[in-house]
């Protein structure tokens, strides 16, 4: 059974989850919003509250969207016997990606804000 359109979409979305977790955890440099001034800047000015989260989510979402489109093309070429295996690997991969990203982010926040 070759993957049909539904299965291709799900496989591609799983790739999207993996890529989102990776980009989000890596946290590439992006513009920061300064709420007191209502402006966006690329630099991080110490002492003035700013927010990098919007750009971080935007980067990760863009990467996930690209992974989804490329994943859909790749999934259509998946050989027939591999669909059940791919489904199981997706379950494992998505779980591990979310767990690894959460653990890394928790450690990062702990060492930044809590650790002496």
């Amino acid at each position: 059974m070759k993957p049909d359109a539904r299965e291709s979409a799900v496989l591609a979305l799983c790739w999207g989850v993996l890529v989102f977790c990776a980009i989000y955890a890596l946290n590439p440099a992006g513009p920061r919003y300064y709420p007191l001034e209502g402006v966006w800047r690329w630099e991080n000015i110490k002492g003035i509250p700013s927010m990098a989260w919007y750009a971080r989510v935007a980067y990760a979402s863009s990467g996930a969207a690209l992974a989804f489109f490329l994943g859909r093309l790749a999934a259509r070429g998946l050989p027939e016997p591999f669909v059940p295996l791919a489904a199981r690997l997706c379950a494992l991969g998505v779980s591990l990606a979310l767990l690894a990203a959460s653990a890394y982010l928790a450690w990062d926040e702990y060492r930044h804000w809590v650790a002496p």
Partner: protein, 157 residues
Amino acid sequence: MIILEPCAKPLLFLHLVSAVVCLAASVHLALRLIQRLRARRVSMRSVRLHAKIVASAYLLSFVLGALVYPTFRVRVRHDYFDPELPWATAMFEMKEHCAALGLVPSLLLLVIALRFDFGVPRDRVWLPLFCAVLGAVTLILCYNACAGWYLSSLRSV
């Protein structure tokens, strides 16, 4: 003046309501699925309904939280948490990370629920993935709800 500060409290209230709806639907979906699988019959009707509620409430809660964030960042985090309770800042940062990580999985949950029928043998291969994603989204919602409610009790917008 911080953007949307005048309506921060109503936005926060709506954020709370949508989060509660999302968490309740997620737990209900998990319990329904376990019940049905034990009885060896799966009705996709209630699974699809709850998956739609989870996905739409998650997105709504996410957007509302993003709108309240500028006010929170200054009036709560900068003015109180960062200097006095840095562990609370860490807890909040983890909440926003979890919310972001759960975005695509909540969409994945919806797509699987809408496009597959676990009563059909071919589609059952996707059940482990559905359960894994549902478990992850539910855990994220549990943490975010508890952290959000506790942090709001310390100081709110």
